[in-house]
Assembly symmetry: C2
C-alpha cells in the first residue's frame, strides 16, 4: 500500500468480520510498530496480544466502567468481538519522562501497519485523564510488572463495516504561517 | 512510497540540506497530517509553520533552556537550521481530555507524510514532563490563544546526514501473548 493512501484511508473501525488474524500477520504488524520513533531511541514499548475471550470481555468492561460522560454513547463492548486486542505498554525506566507519548507513537505506527494488511482497529486509551484507576486495573489484567504502564488498547480485525466519508476540517482553518492567525 | 517501507525507513534527522521546502510541499504534508485519528473525531489539531530565522532561534533557545539532564548532550541548536519548523498545537475544548495524545498522533502522521516526500525531521516535545514552563513560552512565541496548547515542534528539511543502521530490540523481547511474560 502506498504511504499517502494509507494515511488517508485508515479509519477507526469497531465491527470486525469473523475471520481470524493469524499470529504471523499480527507479528508483521508489531514488527513495524516497533519502528516508531522513541525518546532517545530507547524503544520503551512492548506489546501484549490478547485473544482470550474472557480477557477481552474484562477489558471491555473496564473501559465501560471508566468511560467519561462525553464518551458513554460509545460503549467498548465491541472490544470483545475483535479477534485480537493489542495492549501497547511502556517501560517507564526507558521512556525519559514520556511514557504516554512513546506509547501513542507506537500505536500510530501499529494502526497504519495493520491498515496496510487490510486490518482495522481503533485507538483506545488504557488510562483516564484524571484520577486514573483504569490503568492499574488493565495492568493487573495483563500481569504487567511494576514500571510498565499500559498506554493504549487496540482491537484489531478485518473490518465488517464501511465507514462513511470522513469530513476533515479545511486546511486553511488549521494551518497558520509564522504565528497563530498569521497568513496561510 | 510504500507504507511498510515508510514505517521502516523514517529516521530522526537533525542536519538539513540548504534546500528550500516549498509552501506547496509543506501543504501536502500538513494535508496528510490532518488525517490522523483524533478523540471522537473532533480534529483538535492545528499547525503553525515557522520559517523566520529569529523565531526558529528562539525555539531552539527555549528548548535548550528547558532541556532535562538526560538530554543535555543533544542541544536543539539544529532547529534554527531547518527550513521550516512545524508546531503541532491542540485546542483543548476539542480534545476530550487528550490534548497531548491528539498532538502526538498528528505528529506521527506528519513525520511519515514528510518522509514520503524525501523530507526528514525529528520529534521534539513543546512542553516539559513536570513543572512545565516551556509550553507557555512556546505558546507566547507562536501567539497561541488561550485554550490552544503546543504539543510538538518538528523541524523539517531535506536530510544532510545519513543515519547509521537502526538497532531495534528483538521482537521476542517486546511481544507477549495474553499476559506479560506469556508465550511469544
Amino acid at each position: 500500500m502506498n504511504l499517502d493512501e494509507g494515511l488517508r484511508g485508515r479509519r477507526s473501525i469497531r465491527r470486525y468480520a469473523e475471520r481470524d488474524v493469524s499470529d504471523a500477520l499480527l507479528r508483521e504488524v508489531l514488527d513495524l510498530a516497533r519502528h516508531a520513533p522513541s525518546s532517545m531511541d530507547d524503544q520503551p514499548c512492548c506489546f501484549v496480544a490478547i485473544r482470550a475471550g474472557d480477557s477481552k470481555r474484562r477489558i471491555a468492561a473496564a473501559k465501560n466502567a471508566h468511560s467519561p460522560p462525553d464518551k458513554r454513547a460509545f460503549p467498548a463492548d465491541f472490544v470483545s468481538d475483535a479477534p485480537v486486542v493489542v495492549a501497547v505498554c511502556v517501560e517507564r525506566a526507558r521512556a525519559h519522562g514520556r511514557v504516554r507519548e512513546n506509547g501513542v507513537l507506537a500505536t500510530a505506527f501499529l494502526l497504519l501497519a495493520a491498515h496496510a494488511r487490510g486490518l482495522s482497529g481503533v485507538y483506545l486509551s488504557a488510562y483516564e485523564s484524571e484520577n486514573d484507576t483504569l490503568a492499574p486495573q488493565i495492568a493487573a489484567l495483563l500481569g504487567l510488572p511494576d514500571g510498565i504502564q499500559p498506554v493504549t488498547l487496540v482491537p484489531l480485525g478485518f473490518p465488517a463495516e464501511e465507514p462513511g466519508a470522513k469530513r476533515l476540517r479545511p486546511l486553511d482553518e488549521i494551518v497558520h504561517a509564522e504565528a497563530y492567525g498569521g497568513p496561510r
